[in-house]
């Protein structure tokens, strides 16, 4: 025991020393989603920036999943330890509403497009909140096992058709997306979805449609679950973020194909927390990381569409696989024939209510 304790003590002391020896360069803590996504940011933004600025060290914190609650807590404590946070647009709006993140002046804080177009125009409508710097357009869409279906799946309503396509499906354990899809397949005109969903009867209608496949659904809570479930053969079709499906298909070579019909577009981007200790440094990095070339570079690593209009023509080939990335982008005209753009205002009002209804329905 004595030896054990001594070894432990030595280990702890060494760890403390190692810990102290690190803090020399300016460290920017960048919160993101981990996995392939953080790797793509590392490749496109962090690594080149650190090469140009040897005094800066960018640290990846993979806890974006709980960032909203954590930031609220940090702000209460007056101890904000993050410098830049990657969040989805709805969370950016909420953080901005709560005054927890800095307001961005998109034209003066960000780089203009190469042809001189100011950033606010280059990003256009994607600036959904004054605190938000859009980075990518991603979509929640479906992938299916090509070896387990009798014919290719082409319509979103194939997901609801358990006769032609028997087997389990994986859907997100959330009303977002699922309720919109259910209404479309129940015959609601796509333009009217949110009007219908806003009423109690409309919500019941969506749930009734989901009821028809309820016993065949595996509900996911983390984006990595659907790729895992598809690879395991646990489900024949499942929704997840399109970039996860790309790596499943192109990198892991699994027998899976995309079903782009009525993909739900959403935005992901940066917010700067109020109270960061490195505001000046982080704004410099933000300007670099969201310029036209950098956003285009990210698509070398992952198939999410760059948020700047001027980046689109620069999308090239995958960094390792050498395949053309443009056809794999959710924004590619061939993939984006039918799309839903998440209605942020609607969900801000109705998320709590529909979420409660949805969970009550799950329990039935």
């Amino acid at each position: 025991m004595k030896n054990f304790m001594r070894a432990m003590m030595a280990g702890a002391v060494m760890a403390v020393i190692g810990f102290a020896g690190q803090a020399m360069a300016t460290e920017l803590v960048v919160v993101s989603w981990g996995g392939a996504y953080t790797a793509s940011q590392q490749g496109a933004y962090h690594a080149p920036y650190m090469k140009k600025n040897p005094g800066i060290k960018i640290i990846n914190d993979d806890s974006a999943g709980t960032a909203v609650a954590k930031l609220r807590a940090m702000a209460q404590a007056g101890n904000v330890t993050w410098d830049l946070i990657d969040v989805v647009a709805a969370d950016a709006m909420r953080l901005c509403d709560e005054g927890l993140v800095e307001v961005i002046n998109h034209d003066s804080d960000l780089a203009a497009a190469p042809d001189g177009t100011p950033a606010s125009k280059d990003f256009g409508d994607l600036i959904v909140s004054e605190c938000f710097v859009p980075q990518i357009v991603y979509s929640t869409t479906f992938g299916y096992r090509t070896d387990k279906v009798s014919k290719p799946m082409t319509s979103i309503c194939d997901v609801f058709d358990t006769n032609t396509f028997p087997g389990k499906r994986s859907l997100q354990k959330s009303p977002l997306g699922n309720m919109e899809w259910a209404l479309i397949c129940d015959g609601v005109a796509p333009a009217k979805i949110y009007d219908v969903l806003g009423t109690s009867a409309g919500a019941d209608r969506a749930l009734a449609k989901l009821d028809s496949i309820k016993s065949d659904v595996v509900w996911w809570t983390a984006g990595a679950q659907t790729p895992q479930l598809l690879a395991d053969g646990e489900v024949v079709v499942g929704s997840t973020y399109n970039g996860r499906l790309f790596s499943l298909i192109a990198e892991e070579k699994q027998p899976v194909a995309m079903l782009w019909d009525w993909q739900v577009f959403d935005l992901d981007g940066w917010v700067v927390p109020k109270g960061t200790k490195n505001k000046a440094e982080v704004m410099k990095f933000l300007k670099f990381a969201t310029d036209t070339q950098r956003l285009a570079d990210q698509s070398k690593f992952i198939s999410y569409g760059p948020a700047r209009a001027s980046s689109a023509p620069l999308v090239g080939k995958h960094g390792k696989l050498g395949i053309d990335m443009a056809p794999h982008m959710p924004t590619d005209p061939n993939n984006a024939k039918t799309t839903i753009l998440t209605n942020y205002e609607f969900w801000a009002d109705n998320k709590d209510d529909l979420d409660a209804k949805f969970n009550a329905w799950l329990l039935k």
């Binding site: 025991m1 280990g11 760890a15 190692g18 981990g34 996995g35 806890s63 999943g65 983390a222 690879a231």
Partner: protein
């Protein structure tokens, strides 16, 4: 056990072997899920399934890349370091405070014993999610959220009940006459403490400390709430990033952890045998 008493009837003998069979099955149930981890951690694809290549023992189906990632990635290195620092200090706090309290609780004339005991072991009773939420709210208000100190204190809280319980258990049936005897023979209270009490409670303290250490080392819910990236422990690292990728690196980490656990358990068992030898109790 191997030789059955000769007076047993045939049905009793059959029952005896059926019983042993049942027990073997239960032990298998306990250990099998742990055995599955190791081969999966050598999987060449990032999924938790036995691929056809693996089942055919095709070398192409296996890979060391998850171990490579574990040993080379900064995230994992930091996680190992944090786990050790946090578990170490949390164990020190919970063991010292817990042992002292257990000694106090076991003294004769302790007032409100049951009430105090209930309060002291409450961290073990309160569901983890509630402890985590409560500490998250409160620690963020006083600036402890996202600090090493915060996580260490939180883990020390979770570890103390184990120390209190194990040390109290070694003291139940403790003959207070031993203390009187020691003192009547001229020993100072300090000498009595180190020569009489310490040897008696040491096994309880060690096993309590191990419980506390493992509690901190394995704990994920509280560290997810109270901790932040800089306090990332191994379980934190296993759980974060799950939105993007469930990487088999967690399986390689797990395999290594199981090996460490086996080493710890063996140490504990050898230690226990040693104490028994010292105390003169021979294992039957």
């Amino acid at each position: 056990m191997s030789s059955l008493p000769s007076y047993l009837s045939l049905p009793e003998r059959i029952w005896h072997y059926v019983f042993l069979g049942i027990c073997a099955a239960i032990l298998f149930f306990l250990i099998f899920p742990l055995l599955v981890i190791a081969p999966l951690s050598f999987n060449a694809v990032p999924f938790f399934t036995f691929t056809k290549e693996m089942l055919a023992f095709d070398p192409a189906g296996f890979s060391l890349k998850w171990y490579e990632e574990f040993f080379t990635s900064l995230n994992w290195q930091g996680a190992v370091r944090n786990s050790i620092i946090i578990a170490f200090f949390a164990t020190i706090i919970s063991t010292s405070l817990g042992t002292l309290a257990a000694l106090g609780l076991s003294r004769p004339h302790m007032p409100y014993r049951t009430l105090l005991m209930s309060l002291l072991i409450s961290p073990m009773i309160v569901p983890l999610i509630i402890s985590a939420a409560g500490m998250f709210f409160f620690y963020s208000r006083i600036g402890l959220q996202g600090t090493h100190l915060g996580v260490i204190l939180a883990h020390a809280v979770l570890g103390t009940p184990f120390v209190v319980i194990t040390v109290t258990a070694t003291l139940t049936g403790f003959d207070n006459n031993l203390i009187r005897a020691s003192q009547s023979l001229g020993a100072t209270p300090t000498t009595t403490f180190f020569k009489v009490i310490v040897p008696l409670i040491t096994p309880g303290v060690i096993s309590g400390a191990l419980f506390a250490f493992v509690t901190s080392f394995d704990e994920v819910v509280v560290v997810l709430f109270v901790g932040s990236y800089k306090q990332r422990t191994i379980p934190w690292q296993m759980f974060s990033g799950i939105r993007e990728q469930i990487s088999p690196t967690i399986l390689s980490a797990a395999t290594l952890l199981i090996l460490i656990t086996i080493a710890l358990l063996t140490t504990l068992e050898l230690l226990r045998r040693r104490t028994e030898r010292i105390r003169g109790v021979t294992p039957s």
